[in-house]
Structures are given as C-alpha cells and as structure tokens.
Symmetry: C2
Subunit: 157 residues, 2 copies
C-alpha cells in the first residue's frame, strides 16, 4: 500500500496496520460485489447501478440516467443500454421527470428491492451484528475514521 515508506515509531506501525486492514476491506468489498454479480446473475456495472439506486432511494434523492453515467464513469450511450437491460429484466422503470421534459427518473421496482435484500440480507445482518459488538465511543471513532478515509480516497467527493 506504500512505496518505500517504512514505519519507525510505534505510532507509525499502528498506521501501517490500519492501512493493511483497509486493503483487506477493499478486497472483501470487491469480492462481495462480484459475489453479488454472480448471485443476481448480472454484470458488474448493472449491479453497481442497482446499488446506487438503493442508496439514493434511502436518501430520498431521485436518480437520472446521467447520474448513473457520472457515478459509474461510463458514457450516456452505455447507460442507455444498461437501463434497457435493467428495464427488460424488470429491475427498474423509466419515469418522466416532473419538471424537465428532456430528462427521466429511474426508479427501482418492488421485485428488484426484494431480490437485492434477499441476496444481501445475510451480509448486512452479519455486518450489523459485528458492529453491535463495539460500544458507542468506539463506533464514533470508527465512523469518523471511515468518513476521513472516504475523503482521502476520493478528493472530488
């Protein structure tokens, strides 16, 4: 994870251990997502799009095809085909945008939500019960660290 940096102090060793753990998490996430792909019989970007929709829905924010293109860093043309696939498979629907008649709003169907949580419910529950084993003070530190980590990894938020 680092170039030629070698930890000297005990504190630096602790930093390196954390970086190693981050790498492990990165790996586990990748495997979880590709497992998702296998379980739901979809390709990687389609699953990533579904994840975006699930997350945005929780926040109550609408998702346009362009949002998906930007988030997944694929072209709008590819996004059109992606949505075609998800519409055909019954995971999403294209709705007219309420105020902009050029735009669309992409919404999840009930079966898609169901399938998603059926497939990932186990993992989510495992993560939740794992976190339950930490007290509030510890969780606060972890949450703060994770938010800092997000910003360090993705400067353009």
């Amino acid at each position: 994870m680092s170039e030629r940096w070698q930890p000297q102090t005990e504190h630096e060793h602790a930093v390196m251990r954390v970086l190693t753990s981050i790498r492990a998490v990165s790996d586990a996430m990748e495997r979880m997502h590709s497992g998702m792909r296998g379980d739901m019989d979809m390709n990687a970007t389609d699953v990533a799009a579904l994840r975006l929709l699930i997350i945005r829905e929780r926040n109550g924010r609408p998702v346009s095809p362009r949002d998906i293109a930007r988030h997944l860093r694929i072209s709008t043309a590819s996004t059109t085909k992606l949505l075609d696939r998800l519409v055909v498979s019954g995971h999403v629907e294209r709705r007219p945008h309420p105020s902009d008649r050029r735009a669309r709003v992409v919404v999840l169907t009930d079966p898609a939500r169901e399938t998603f949580f059926r497939v990932f419910g186990d993992r989510l529950r495992a993560m939740r019960s794992m976190a339950m084993g930490y007290d509030e003070a510890e969780l606060a530190v972890v949450a703060r660290f994770l938010d800092d980590l997000s910003h360090a990894m993705d400067p353009d938020d």
Copy 2:
C-alpha cells in the same frame, strides 16, 4: 444498507452511522479504482489484476493465472487474454513455475510497479497522513473493526 431495521437506542444509532460510513467508503473505493482505470488507461479487471499482484508481491506470495481467475471470478480463458494484454503492455511477465511444469508464475515488471505508485502515490500518502491524525489506541480500535468487517463481508475468507 438495512431492510426494515430501524435503530431504537442511542447505541443502535451509532451502529447505523457506522454502516452508512461503510457505504460511503465502499463508494469511494469504487470511484478510486475506476479512476485508476482511467489514469492508467486500462479496463477494470486488468487494474484489479494488477492490484492483486501488487498486494501478493508485498506478502511475498507468488501468483498463478489460476489465482487471478479465482480472485477476479472470471474464466481461465479470460485470464489468458487478460495476461496477454498485460504482457503486451509490458506490465507483467509469465515465468515457468519452479516445481509444476503445467503452471506459470505471473510477475510484475519494474515499469508496472513504478506506474502504479506514480498514479496512486497521492492517494496513498493522503490516506497515510489522514491515519497519522489518530492516536495508537484509536488506530487499534479501527484496525480491529476493519478486520472484523472484512470477515463479515466475505464469509469464505
């Protein structure tokens, strides 16, 4: 991140905040990796393969084509072509396996390592200096949490 689970106690709220932060990290990682893809002008799996090689190399463990196939969950045929690409682009070399004459060992070239750290050095340094802001006790908690998280996300280790 959860189905119909709603936090009741203050402790459960803290758990939910952590799960939200995990989601943010997941997102940031995905964006970092796809940024990697753009910066190094490679596709997603090729970059993932390179990351695997970098990590395994640090641990001193050799990587076979089959390891790559298993890790990325792609077929061995796709792996052969993947390696063809990486060999042509000068990122890896195929070496004979020392004891199994059917097998190969895939090794990184110097230029590949160089390019990798040139492109991601910034992010790595940002992550390191971010972690430096936490004391040893906090880092210990975070590291333990992250390791637990890895296991919760990836049951088959």
